[in-house]
C-alpha cells in the first residue's frame, strides 16, 4: 500500500484546520462606531421630517411674522427666520418631504432603468450589448448636470421634472455597473460549475447571476443617493424646482443669497442639513460596501 493511506483519516480533516484569528478581520461590531451611529441618527431624523413634519415643528412654514424677520437662531427659532419672518427650521422640515421624494424618484428611475439595461446588455451580449453600451458611453460623456438641464429645458420646471431629469442622468451609471456585475458573475467558476451540473440559462440567471449582482447595485444605490440629493438641490437652487413659496432644500438656500451679509443662518443652516444627509448616506454606503466585499 502507498503512504497516502497513512495520512490522517478524512473524518479528522475539519479539526486540523487552523482556527486562529486571522489578522485584519474585524472583531468590533461594525455598526457600533460613532460615525455610523450618527449617520443612522441623521437618516432617521430626516426620514421623520419627511413623513411627519408636524411632529417636529409647530411653526407654519409658509406664513411668517414680519416683525421677527431676519432674526438670528434662538430657542424660539432654531434656524432663525427669513426675510419675511418665517421660521427657517419649519421651512427646512417641511421642505424635506418634497426634496426627498424628488431624490428617491430620481434614484428609482436611475436604478430600475439602469439595472434593466445593464442586465439585458450583460446577459444577451453581442450586438444588443454593443448598442446599449455605446449609448451609455454617450450619456456618460455629457456631464450629468448639463444632461439634466437639457431634460429640464424640454420638460419644463417643477420638482417632478427635476427628479426625472436627475434620474435620466443616473441611468448610465447604474447600467454600467449592472452590466459589469452580470459579466463578472457570468464568467465565474461557480456559474460554469452550475452549467456543468446541468442548470439551464434561466435558472443560472435567477439563482446565481441576479443574487450575486444585486448586492453591488444596492451598495451603489446608497452611494448615489448622496450624489442625487446634491444634484436635485442644485437644480432647485438654480430655481428649476418647486415654485415659491413652497419650501425645498435647494431653493431655501437660494432665497438666502441676498442676505448673506446680514443673516448668515439663512443659507448656512438649510445647506448644513443637505450636507449632513449626504455625508450620512455616503458613510452608510461605505459600510455596506465594506460588508459586501467581505
Amino acid at each position: 500500500m502507498t503512504v497516502v493511506s497513512q495520512a490522517p483519516t478524512a473524518v479528522a480533516a475539519p479539526s486540523v484546520v487552523l482556527a486562529r484569528p486571522v489578522p485584519g478581520r474585524r472583531r468590533r461590531h461594525p455598526l457600533a462606531t460613532p460615525g455610523v451611529l450618527a449617520s443612522f441618527a441623521v437618516v432617521l431624523v430626516v426620514l421623520g421630517w419627511a413623513l411627519v413634519p408636524g411632529l417636529f415643528t409647530a411653526a407654519d412654514p409658509l406664513v411668517g411674522v414680519p416683525a421677527d424677520k431676519l432674526s438670528a437662531p434662538s430657542a424660539e427659532h432654531w434656524f432663525g427666520t427669513d426675510n419675511l419672518g418665517r421660521d427657517l427650521y419649519a421651512r427646512t422640515v417641511h421642505g424635506t418631504s418634497l426634496s426627498l421624494q424628488a431624490a428617491l424618484l430620481a434614484l428609482g428611475l436611475g436604478l430600475v432603468v439602469g439595472a434593466l439595461v445593464g442586465l439585458v446588455a450583460g446577459y444577451l451580449g453581442g450586438a444588443v450589448d454593443a448598442v446599449l453600451m455605446r449609448t451609455t458611453d454617450v450619456l456618460l460623456a455629457i456631464p450629468g448636470l448639463l444632461l439634466s438641464l437639457a431634460v429640464v429645458t424640454a420638460l419644463g420646471f417643477g420638482t417632478l421634472k427635476v427628479a426625472i431629469a436627475v434620474g435620466v442622468a443616473e441611468v448610465a451609471t447604474f447600467a454600467r455597473v449592472m452590466r459589469s456585475e452580470v459579466l463578472r458573475v457570468r464568467t465565474t467558476t461557480y456559474v460554469e460549475a452550475a452549467v456543468l451540473a446541468g442548470a439551464r440559462r434561466p435558472a443560472v440567471l435567477a439563482r446565481h447571476v441576479l443574487p450575486n449582482a444585486a448586492a453591488p447595485i444596492l451598495v451603489l444605490a446608497t452611494v448615489q443617493l448622496g450624489v442625487i440629493v446634491l444634484a436635485v438641490s442644485s437644480l432647485s437652487f438654480l430655481g428649476f424646482g418647486a415654485v415659491p413659496p413652497t419650501p425645498e432644500w435647494g431653493s431655501l438656500v437660494a432665497e438666502g443669497r441676498n442676505y448673506l451679509s446680514v443673516a448668515w443662518w439663512f443659507t448656512t443652516l438649510p445647506g448644513l442639513v443637505i450636507a449632513a444627509l449626504v455625508l450620512a448616506a455616503n458613510r452608510l454606503g461605505r459600510l455596506l460596501e465594506g460588508r459586501a466585499h467581505r
Binding site: A7, T9, A10, A13, P23
Partner: protein, 549 residues
C-alpha cells in the same frame, strides 16, 4: 558540522504580534518564541504550511512586517548586531546591503512601469558610492551574471516583457547585488513551472556560494528543502516543532507533525506504485479523445495552437494523468472533453458515442463532471452546502425534494464531511472542506467520468494528501474513471495509472505511469522528471519508511 563563533543570523525567542483590527487593541501572536541560527555559507530552510508563521518570521528578520505586525519579544542579530528596534535610517542601511530578499512571486515583485536596468541600479544607487552612469553599467553586469542573454537589451526592457523565470533571475540579481551576508528567499519558485524552478534554484545556489552569502529559505515544499538546505527548521502554528540537519529531520523525524508533513509530500512519499490491473483488451474505452486540435486567436490577429492533434484513451475505471507546465494546453483539453469549448478538428467519444451533438452532450452532462482547480471560486458564495450539492440533482430533476435531501446527506458522508455541514456556506469552510463539497457535487449524478483540473493545487500539502486519498478511495469504491490534470508530476505519479505529457499543445509521451517516470523517452519528459525536486530525499525516505512503521 563545525560550530563557528558568531552565526550570520541569530534569532532568539522571537515573538511577533498582529493587530486583529486597526481600531481594536486585540492582538494575535503569529510567531511565538522562535529561535534558530544561520551560519556563514549555510542554507537553512524554514518549512511549514500556510499560517505556520514561516513567512512572518522571515519578514521580521528583514524588518518588513506588514502593517499592524510588530516584534514584541526576542532578538534578531545579524553578525552579532541587534536588529530588533532599529530606527528607519539604520534599517535602510541593512536592507539590500547586508540582507537581500528574493520575493515570492516574480510576476508582481518588479515595478511594472520602470525599466529592468533602473530597478537593478536602484539598489546600487541607494547604498551610495556609484554615479548614475556607473550604476547603469554595473546593473548590466549583474543581469549578465544571473544568466540573462543580451543583458544590455534586457536592462532597457520592462518587467512584462520578461518571462517569470527571467524576472526571478533579475530579483536574485538585485538581492545579491551588494553581496549581502544573508539572503532571504521567500518561496522563491512556488509561482514558477517545475523546469524553471530547478534552473532558478541552481542559479541561487551557484551565486550564493560565490558571494559566500548565507541563505534562509522559506518554503512549503519539503522536497525543495530536502534538495537545497543544509538544515531544516519545521514550523507549525507560529512555533518551531523540530530543527536539525536536513538528513536528520527528513530521514528520522522526531515530531509527529514533521512525520505527517513528510507522509503528505507526494514527491517524498511514493517511490513505487503498483499499477492497476490492465483493463480487458478489446473493450470500448469510456473516454476516447481522437486527435483533437484547438487554436485561439490572440488580440492582434495572431493565433496560438493551444491543443495540437491530441489523442487520449481511458478505459473504464482507469485514471489518466495529463501533465504539463503552464501554457501547455492541459486545461484546454479538459474543456474540450467536457464540451465547454468545441474543437477545431477531431472528436471526443464517450462510451463510443460522439459528444458533440445535442444528444451526446446531454449524455455527457449526465455522465461526466468536472472538479475545478480553485475551490474558493467554484462554489457560489451565497449558496448553502446543501444547495450546492443539490444543484445537479435539481437541474436533472432527480427524485423528490426529500429524496434529494437524503441524497445530499449521503454524499456529504461519502466525502467525509457529514450531514452537519449541509447548512454551512462556502465562506465558513476551509479550502479542503470546499474541495470536498465540490467533489460531492460532482458525484451527485453518479457520473462515470470525473475530470479533475488541478484539484489540489490550491491546497496545503497535508490537505492535498487527504483529498488525494479521498479521490483514490472514491475511484475504487465507485468504479470511477479519472482524467486527472496537473502541473505537479509527483501528484500525478500518485494517482494515475497512465500518464500523458503535454508540451506546447502536443502530447509528447504517453504510457504507464511507472514507465514514463522511470524511463522517459522524450527529452522534454526527461527534463520534466529530472526537475522534480526531492531527489536528494531518496536517501532519507528509506529511513522514513522504517520510522513510520
Amino acid at each position: 558540522m563545525s560550530a563557528p563563533t558568531t552565526p550570520v543570523l541569530q534569532v532568539r525567542d522571537l515573538v511577533v504580534e498582529y493587530e486583529v483590527h486597526r481600531s481594536s487593541s486585540e492582538r494575535v501572536q503569529a510567531v511565538r518564541g522562535v529561535s534558530f541560527d544561520v551560519h556563514a555559507g549555510e542554507a537553512v530552510a524554514l518549512v511549514g504550511e500556510s499560517g505556520s508563521g514561516k513567512s512572518t518570521t522571515a519578514h521580521a528578520v528583514v524588518g518588513l512586517l506588514p502593517g499592524g505586525g510588530r516584534v514584541v519579544g526576542g532578538s534578531v542579530r545579524l553578525h552579532g548586531g541587534e536588529l530588533v528596534g532599529l530606527g528607519a535610517k539604520a534599517w535602510q542601511q541593512v536592507r539590500g546591503a547586508r540582507i537581500g530578499l528574493v520575493p515570492q512571486d516574480p510576476g508582481i515583485a518588479l515595478n511594472p512601469v520602470t525599466r529592468i536596468g533602473d530597478q537593478v541600479a536602484e539598489v546600487l544607487r541607494i547604498h551610495g558610492r556609484v554615479r548614475r552612469a556607473a550604476a547603469a553599467q554595473q546593473a548590466v553586469e549583474i543581469l549578465r551574471s544571473v544568466g540573462l542573454s543580451d543583458p544590455e537589451a534586457r536592462a532597457r526592457q520592462y518587467p512584462h516583457e520578461l518571462s517569470g523565470g527571467m524576472r526571478q533571475r533579475v530579483l536574485i540579481g538585485i538581492a545579491l547585488a551588494l553581496e549581502p551576508a544573508l539572503v532571504i528567499a521567500d518561496e522563491p519558485t512556488s509561482a514558477l513551472d517545475v523546469t524553471v524552478q530547478r534552473r532558478v534554484l541552481d542559479l541561487l545556489d551557484d551565486l550564493t556560494s560565490r558571494t559566500g552569502s548565507a541563505v534562509l529559505f522559506i518554503t512549503h515544499d519539503l522536497a525543495v528543502a530536502a534538495d537545497r538546505a543544509d538544515r531544516v527548521v519545521v514550523m507549525k502554528d507560529g512555533e518551531i516543532v523540530e530543527q536539525g540537519l536536513t538528513a536528520q529531520v527528513l530521514g528520522a523525524p522526531r515530531h509527529p507533525y514533521t512525520r505527517s508533513l513528510l507522509a503528505a509530500a507526494p514527491q517524498l512519499s511514493v517511490r513505487e506504485r503498483v499499477a492497476d490491473p490492465a483493463p480487458p483488451v478489446g473493450e470500448t474505452p469510456l473516454l476516447d479523445v481522437l486527435s483533437v486540435s484547438k487554436a485561439f486567436r490572440l488580440p492582434g490577429g495572431r493565433t496560438v495552437q493551444a491543443v495540437d492533434d491530441v489523442s487520449v484513451s481511458i478505459p473504464r475505471g482507469g485514471a489518466f494523468g495529463l501533465v504539463g507546465e503552464s501554457g501547455s494546453g492541459k486545461s484546454t483539453v479538459a474543456r474540450l472533453v467536457l464540451q465547454l469549448t468545441s474543437p477545431d478538428s477531431g472528436t471526443v467519444l464517450l462510451d463510443g458515442a460522439p459528444v458533440s451533438d445535442a444528444a451526446g452532450r446531454a449524455v455527457l452532462r449526465r455522465r461526466s463532471q468536472l472538479v475545478h482547480q480553485n475551490p474558493f471560486a467554484s462554489l457560489d458564495p451565497r449558496f448553502t452546502v446543501a444547495k450546492i450539492i443539490d444543484e445537479p440533482l435539481r437541474s436533472h430533476r432527480v427524485g423528490s425534494r426529500s429524496q434529494r435531501r437524503d441524497r445530499v446527506d449521503e454524499l456529504l458522508e461519502q466525502v467525509a464531511l457529514g450531514a452537519a455541514y449541509a447548512t454551512r456556506r462556502p465562506g465558513e469552510l476551509s479550502g479542503g472542506q470546499r474541495q470536498r463539497v465540490a467533489i460531492a457535487r460532482a458525484l451527485a449524478l453518479e457520473p462515470d467520468l470525473l475530470v479533475l483540473d488541478e484539484p489540489t493545487s490550491a491546497l496545503d500539502v497535508s490537505v492535498q494528501a487527504q483529498i488525494l486519498a479521498l479521490l483514490d478511495r472514491l475511484r475504487r469504491e465507485r468504479d470511477l474513471t479519472y482524467l486527472f490534470i496537473s502541473h505537479d508530476l509527483a501528484v500525478v505519479r500518485q494517482v494515475a495509472d497512465r500518464v500523458g505529457v503535454l508540451h506546447d499543445g502536443r502530447l509528447v509521451e504517453v504510457g504507464p505511469t511507472a514507465d514514463v517516470f522511470d524511463d522517459p523517452h522524450d527529452p522534454y519528459t526527461a527534463e520534466l522528471v529530472g526537475a522534480i525536486p526531492g531527489h536528494r530525499a531518496d536517501v532519507f525516505t528509506d529511513t522514513l519508511e522504517r520510522s513510520t512503521r
